[in-house]
């Protein structure tokens, strides 16, 4: 199984929001809905403060509770990878997957009603391109690739730098990493 991961350097991210705009443009995400978002986390007490910017999205978990909770098989892994997609033709809009996602990363498409989410831009990955957010990033803080290939950029970054994932304690095995 190919395992794709996104590695985001919180030290070079400036929270500009270009990844969010790129995603909306690439995927025609309707106004008011977002597949990715940015969190600015400030730690400490004035004047000793540190700030971390995180571009967040679906974590394309290796143990995705949303996939297991789906009653129709609409939520599925794309071609045996860890990329989690929703098939609108199978989705009833029951919202079990929204309840099942500990990252609250899913949304209801308006006005259609099926459930939507980040796709890691699988239509670009398919032709060897990076997801839109990654290829747009002006500070080059976002990286994408196969984590099961030891010599890929993402694997090397994770070997050489300290990193973290969000809520690994949920057991979902997320695949978006943050370099800290």
């Amino acid at each position: 199984m190919s395992r794709y991961a996104m590695v985001i350097d919180t030290r070079t991210c400036i929270g500009c929001g270009d990844c969010v705009v790129a995603c909306k443009t690439e995927n025609n995400v309707p106004a008011g809905l977002n597949r990715d978002w940015i969190v600015e986390a400030t730690n400490g007490r004035y004047p000793d403060l540190t700030t971390e910017f995180r571009s967040e999205r679906c974590n394309h978990c290796s143990h995705a509770t949303c996939v297991y909770s789906c009653p129709t098989g609409a939520s599925h892994y794309w071609r045996g990878t860890n990329i989690v997609l929703v098939d609108p033709g199978k989705c009833t809009g029951c919202k079990a997957c929204i309840a099942a996602c500990p990252y609250d990363a899913r949304l209801i498409m308006r006005p259609e009603g099926y459930i939507d989410k980040c796709t890691f831009c699988h239509h670009r990955v398919e032709v060897g391109k990076d997801p839109a957010c990654v290829s747009t990033c002006p500070t080059n803080c976002m990286h994408f690739g196969r984590i099961d290939e030891p010599e890929s950029l993402v694997s090397r970054l994770l070997r050489e730098r300290r990193s973290k994932t969000l809520l690994p304690e949920t057991g979902n095995q997320p695949n978006v990493y943050y370099l800290v």
């Binding site: 929270g15 929001g17 969010v20 008011g32 809905l33 977002n34 597949r35 990715d36 978002w37 940015i38 969190v39 600015e40 986390a41 400030t42 730690n43 400490g44 007490r45 910017f53 967040e56 509770t65 297991y68 909770s69 789906c70 009653p71 129709t72 098989g73 609409a74 609108p88 033709g89 199978k90 989705c91 009833t92 809009g93 029951c94 919202k95 079990a96 929204i98 309840a99 099942a100 996602c101 500990p102 990252y103 609250d104 949304l107 209801i108 259609e112 009603g113 099926y114 459930i115 809520l167 949920t170 057991g171």
Partner: protein, 330 residues
């Protein structure tokens, strides 16, 4: 101190309340689904035990309520779907790891069982309705066949009624992402609550004093078990992981405290328990109050559980922003 700010918008129910997962439709379905399970369980049970004399209502007049109540529940369930035209997709697959998939198949089986059990008891319970049905083509045949296979129908009804009563609780408890739901107690709690609601409805609808008394007695036991399960749920969550401890605080001093303890526990369980106890001693002046409160309590349990699960989450952005500070600006 940690402060986390969202500097771009996101589609999230906590930011956009219109995206809340489940509103009133699902609690209504959970309540009526549980009630149907109880109705079918008691009618099938009384049929199998040949209690036509002692409990004539349950044995021959109660089953017809099951398809009616289930239809209301399934209507609200359908109303909740966001992508309604694709509802048939529930029945093009069976997803073994999804309790909702199992539940949708249970519904498909329980519905005809409820209708067959109704047909099998129609001539005895509602002769006028049976007369009308006999005028339709194949009406008599349907009644004859259902009556002939009354016992096998009742035998099959029991396990599927239990499945219908328990699966909704299992469904919610399987969501590890919602700490308040993530407890195995929820399945049995919903099952017992559904049986208790059905016993209460039988007290309200049965005409014979002896039968009412018998169901009041049954309900007394069920309410006691339900109280025990509610206690176990709270212990389970209170001694659980961090997010679970945080989730249960919602009813231990948090915003849901009053509704949970005064509405559900006191009005929905303790007062009916007391009234039921008086009833079986023939001391209860208001016979219908207790069962009515049980039904209200049964609904409140579903609404509270669904709401509490949705406000409990792993993703809590540590926002320290105080909007009142804005008022200090010139």
């Amino acid at each position: 101190m940690v402060e986390e700010l969202l500097i771009t918008a996101r589609a999230n129910p906590k930011i956009d309340p219109s995206l809340g997962i489940w509103s009133w439709e699902i609690p209504v379905y959970l309540f009526f689904g549980g009630l149907t399970a109880g109705i079918l369980f008691f009618s099938a049970w009384m049929i199998l035990r040949n209690r036509d004399e002692e409990t004539p209502f349950a044995a021959s007049r109660y089953a017809i309520w099951a398809p009616i109540v289930l239809s209301i529940g399934m209507t609200t369930l359908f109303l909740d779907l966001e992508h309604k035209l694709y509802v048939f997709r529930f029945y093009t697959t069976l997803q073994p790891l999804s309790p909702m998939s199992w539940g949708s198949w249970v519904l498909l089986i329980i519905y005809p069982l409820a209708i067959l059990l109704t047909l099998a008891t129609l001539r005895k319970g509602y002769p006028m309705l049976a007369g009308l049905l006999e005028k339709l083509p194949f009406g008599s045949l349907a009644l004859d066949l259902s009556e002939r296979f009354k016992r096998p129908i009742a035998i099959w009804t029991i396990p599927f009624a239990i499945a219908l009563g328990i699966y909704t609780g299992i469904l919610l408890s399987a969501f590890s992402a919602r700490p308040f739901w993530n407890s195995g107690v929820l399945g049995p709690l919903f099952l017992v609550s559904g049986l208790s609601s059905a016993a209460a409805l039988a007290v309200l609808l049965a005409k014979q004093h002896g039968e009412r008394l018998q169901f009041a007695r049954i309900d007394l036991g069920l309410i006691a078990v339900e109280l025990l399960l509610v206690g176990l749920l709270i212990i389970n969550l209170h001694t659980g992981s961090g997010p679970q401890v945080q989730a249960v605080q919602q009813i231990l001093g948090g915003p849901y405290t009053q509704l949970f303890w005064l509405g559900f526990v006191l009005v929905g369980l303790l007062i009916p328990l007391m009234l039921g106890w008086l009833e079986i001693r023939n001391l209860n002046p208001v016979v219908f109050l207790g069962p009515l409160l049980v039904l209200i309590g049964g609904y409140l349990l579903r609404q509270l559980t669904v709401d509490l699960g949705q406000v409990s989450t792993w993703t809590n952005y540590a926002s320290q922003f105080n909007p009142q500070l804005l008022e200090l600006l010139p």
